[in-house]
């Protein structure tokens, strides 16, 4: 790995550090300071988008552990988010849990549900696993819609109260920002660390070749299930935040389309790279907003009904195109581009 001139790792600690140099620390602190002062000068609508980014980021990083690190494909991420959202909503609305307890509880519930659907992964992989998680993606919303509809409201939306921590009510974008973004930052940090730990290395080995990994002493059962648990755990965190942030949840928010979007974010960002997935989330969500704003302008010359249909088709069409283009032209994703750019600046006057 490149180091700037004059920087030497003379202890093991320095070699393992994520933040290496004083410059890194300065930049990190300035960036965090700027991030957390955002609510003071951004409007509610922009903050809404930032909060959406934060929640998406948590779920996408969870999926990154499963699909990016472990190579296990999941088409059910948004269903697991739904599990988190509904369990958090039920816990706070009917069981009287406070928000700060409902969040970890619903994350664990989502994790356990993930384990159930991850269990077939012990025998299957590839397409077959995609199928098992696809089944989860169809069964879970069905259960929400048809079981105990007196509590969940079935296909109708369910109202959720705003988080209330010690008398403070978090009922607007500014205050939710201070719940969502710290958790998102913590998620990035934890998953970055996970990728360098024993678990992360075991998952990388499984991704490259699971039989080879097993012969080298990686316990496949344990690590595959663990990957599923971690993935759905973060989905549960994201779901709980989603429920208390949107304050009205319905099963159709957690559809197959969303799951494909999450996979798309990982692909575009670069599988297995934490910074890459962050870029991927940013890219896709910005792109989505862009389409939302551009669609009326692009279709204004068409008659109203046609314009509406074209607008509705624009988002899936362009998203599919982007995934396909990335798959063909840059399968390593934005993370690879980022590395190239970093190397360029590090070596600047020279080519290599």
């Amino acid at each position: 790995m490149f180091r700037p001139c004059g920087v030497f790792d003379d202890t093991y600690g320095k070699g393992m550090a994520i933040v290496r140099t004083p410059q890194h620390w300065t930049f990190l602190i300035i960036a965090l300071f700027m991030l957390f002062s955002l609510p003071f000068f951004l409007s509610g609508r922009v903050l809404h988008f930032v909060n959406l980014l934060g929640i998406t980021l948590i779920a996408a990083q969870g999926l990154n552990v499963l699909t990016g690190f472990g190579g296990l494909i999941s088409l059910g991420q948004s269903a697991f988010i739904g599990v988190g959202a509904y369990s958090s909503a039920l816990l706070t609305m009917y069981a009287g849990f406070p928000f700060y307890l409902a969040l970890p509880c619903s994350a664990i519930i989502a994790g356990l549900v993930g384990l159930i659907f991850g269990a077939p992964s012990l025998r299957i992989k590839g397409f077959y696993l995609a199928m098992a998680t696809l089944a989860a993606q169809i069964i879970i919303p069905w259960l929400i819609m048809n079981v105990r509809t007196d509590l969940t409201g079935g296909a109708q939306s369910m109202r959720v109260s705003a988080p209330n921590i010690g008398g403070m009510v978090f009922n607007d974008q500014q205050s939710m920002f201070y719940i969502i973004i710290p958790i998102a930052c913590l998620t990035i940090f934890l998953i970055r660390n996970l990728s360098r730990s024993r678990i992360g290395r075991a998952l990388f080995a499984i991704r490259d070749n699971d039989i080879a990994a097993e012969t080298m002493g990686v316990n496949l059962t344990k690590y595959k299930l663990l990957a599923f648990f971690i993935c759905s755990f973060y989905a549960g965190v994201a779901g709980s935040l989603w429920a208390h942030w949107m304050r009205a949840i319905s099963p159709d928010q957690f559809n197959l389309m969303e799951s494909i979007w999450y996979l798309g974010m990982i692909i575009i960002g670069g599988m297995g790279s934490v910074i890459g997935v962050t870029f991927g989330v940013l890219f896709i969500r910005l792109f989505d907003i862009g389409i939302l704003f551009a669609a009326p302008a692009l279709t204004s010359f068409l008659p109203p009904q046609l314009a509406q249909d074209t607008g509705a088709g624009l988002s899936p069409f362009s998203f599919g195109m982007i995934i396909l283009i990335f798959l063909i032209l840059e399968p390593r994703g934005l993370a690879h581009r980022w590395e190239i750019m970093k190397a360029y600046f590090r070596l600047f006057p020279f080519k290599y």
Binding site: I73, P120, A130, A132, A135, N146, D309, P316, G320, I328
Partner: protein, 292 residues
């Protein structure tokens, strides 16, 4: 008892639709090792092409069908050439994502061309009434669909057995490298496979469209039920696709009739999970032995 037979026969008839769609998926998986998640959208597009040829271009039914065959064959070629061929040799996730992306693209195209409402064909393609045999109610439409899919299966079996390209496709399914070493142009086989599968999908779209109406909101969801059928029968087996499709149809119909019609929506997927846990390769699929 007659109620049971009624459910059973309904199940067989509906199952033949799933079997038909499963056939299109198995065809592609057999020779290219790609599971086509875009099947639902491809068949909807096929239905809409026939609709356009009949409504906008004012073709009679037979000319419309011919037009649909030509367009969907070329669509299959184009899809393979632009989306799948660059990904040969990439990891499995790339192939899965490519077909998922494809499904989104086709969905977008359908929105552009035909919008979101569910529409039906201007004239009946399949006969509409029903026949009573004893006290069992048989929908003529479903009977036609059943016979068409049986004919399709027989044609496919003959195609694989007796035509040169069918034999090439079977050889490619055995192993890409070996097939290439014996002088088969594997890439061309892939293209032909996608074209045939697109054709079968368009056929499925026409059958489904004349029964349920054409709509991007509904048809792909019905097609997704062919996935459990494929896995139940085994990904590599044409016979398996038939049996899997019929089983899924029968189970769905019986559960819907005796337990709860709502519950029947997810029975195929519960069946899928059971199959995946206990016999992942399906009834007739090949058990893969992995070596490092």
């Amino acid at each position: 008892m007659s109620l049971f037979i009624q459910f059973l026969i309904n199940g067989v008839l509906v199952g033949s639709i799933y079997a038909f769609l499963a056939l299109a998926i198995v065809l592609i998986y057999k020779s290219t090792r790609v599971f086509n998640f875009a099947m639902g959208e491809m068949l909807t597009l096929g239905g809409f092409i026939l609709y356009t040829s009949m409504v906008t271009l004012n073709f009679p039914v037979w000319l419309g069908l011919l037009f649909t065959i030509i367009v969907s064959l070329s669509l299959g070629f184009i899809i393979e050439r632009l989306a799948l061929r660059p990904l040969i040799g990439q990891p499995i996730l790339a192939a899965i994502m490519a077909t998922l992306a494809l499904s989104l693209i086709i969905k977008g195209i359908i929105f552009f061309g035909w919008g979101s409402p569910t529409i039906s064909f201007p004239e009946k393609i399949l006969p509409g009434e029903a026949t009573l045999v004893g006290n069992i109610f048989l929908s003529n439409e479903l009977l036609c669909i059943f016979f068409i899919s049986v004919v399709a299966f027989i044609l496919m079996a003959l195609f694989f057995r007796f035509t040169k390209i069918g034999v090439f496709m079977r050889a490619t399914a055995e192993g890409h490298d070996i097939a290439q070493a014996s002088g088969i142009n594997v890439e061309r086989i892939f293209a032909v496979t996608w074209a045939i599968a697109a054709l079968v999908a368009a056929g499925g779209g026409i059958l489904l469209g004349s029964r349920f109406g054409l709509g991007i909101g509904t048809l792909p969801l019905i097609a997704v039920k062919a996935f459990p059928a494929v896995l139940f029968g085994g990904l590599e087996s044409v016979t398996g696709a038939m049996i899997g499709g019929l089983t899924v149809g029968i189970v769905e119909s019986l559960v819907g009739g005796y337990i709860d019609p709502k519950f029947s929506e997810i029975t195929p997927y519960i069946l899928l999970l059971i199959v995946l846990v206990f016999r992942p390769e399906g009834l007739f699929g090949l058990k893969r032995i992995e070596r490092i």
